[in-house]
């Protein structure tokens, strides 16, 4: 295996991914979600101070984020989005799904999620933001409830 192929092999088995989740409940309205615990981040690109992932190389990433509300439901609509910068370094959003929080009133914790392919430029950040029009409400915490996963799928 020559050096060029070795480099390609290394890219295919790259460390550009992270898995983070929320351990401490957060009172949210329209705000950045505080994923405060790192499960995986082999290249050290996630910041626990800004709760964002700094894109290490320009490429196509797959991202998936979700949060759940634990407070008493109110009759409003809530959702989630991912903020990132595209190949032209312009700010973009990946809009996610949300549901009426009133679902909570019948005992089901409402959940919002977002997933998809995002073209990101190196140096920009990816973070998750809530869109919630009701009174401040707590998130439900846990590795399986409120989390974000990011993975480089291909170089540009």
């Amino acid at each position: 295996m020559d050096m060029q192929l070795l480099a390609l092999y290394a890219q295919k088995h790259h460390p550009y991914r992270c898995s983070v989740w929320q351990n401490v409940a957060q009172s949210i309205t329209n705000t950045t979600i505080h994923f405060d615990t790192i499960a995986k981040d082999p290249n050290n690109n996630y910041s626990l101070s800004t709760f964002s992932y700094t894109v290490p190389v320009t490429g196509f990433y797959w991202a998936y984020a979700r949060y759940i509300l634990s407070g008493t439901g109110v009759n409003t609509f809530f959702s989630i989005q991912l903020n990132y910068n595209d190949f032209n370094n312009n700010a973009q959003v990946l809009i996610g799904e949300g549901f009426p929080a009133a679902i909570n009133a019948v005992g089901i914790s409402p959940c919002a999620f977002v997933s998809g392919i995002i073209p990101c430029v190196a140096g920009s950040t990816i973070l998750a933001q809530t869109n919630y029009g009701g009174a401040a409400t707590n998130t439900a915490t846990g590795q399986n409830f409120t989390f974000m996963h990011i993975q480089l799928m291909s170089l540009k």
Binding site: K12, F77, G96
Partner: protein, 165 residues
């Protein structure tokens, strides 16, 4: 570079990646009627696989059989308040039917028409060379519009691995 190296190289640097979106609202979505989404703008298209922009057959023409990653979002606005649901699917070939669904999502419309619905879908699918991948949606209640905008109604695709085995 031997055959194995060439295969690895081609898998990493495949140019088969594309993204299209609807730039303006697409009105006239009639309740209980499948409406094809007329994507009309390219965000990026490295392998020239985008076809029929601005028409009911707008989508991706698959150049190589393989495993593909598809994701997207459809923004939907109800004409008036109604309890019901809206949904969309990414389909292949006969885009205006739902017998070839590959990915889809649905949303309740209990938001009484005042807030946009965003239906998000994504997943890995097998596609054959020549397949056409497009999108369609529908709703119950009063009908409405697909919302225009690069972040509102779009579809993205990328080849993960060649071959169907």
């Amino acid at each position: 570079m031997d055959a194995l190296e060439l295969k690895l190289f081609s898998e990493i640097y495949t140019p088969i990646r594309a993204s299209i979106y609807r730039v303006s609202n697409q009105t006239g979505v009639v309740a209980a009627t499948v409406t094809q989404i007329q994507f009309d703008t390219i965000e990026y298209d490295y392998a020239n696989i985008v076809v029929s922009l601005g028409t009911v057959n707008a989508g991706f023409k698959i150049p190589t059989s393989g495993w593909y990653l598809i994701s997207g979002c459809v923004g939907f606005s109800m004409t008036a308040a109604a309890n019901g649901q809206s949904f969309f699917t990414f389909n292949k070939n006969a885009v205006n039917t739902f017998n070839n669904v590959v990915i889809g999502s649905q949303m309740p419309t209990t938001n009484a028409g005042g807030t946009l619905n965003h239906m998000v879908g994504g997943g890995i699918v097998q596609l054959n060379v020549g397949d056409l991948v497009g999108a369609a949606g529908s709703c119950s209640g009063t009908g409405g519009s697909f919302i225009g905008g690069a972040a509102e109604t779009y579809m993205r695709i990328m080849l993960l691995q060649e071959g169907l085995s």
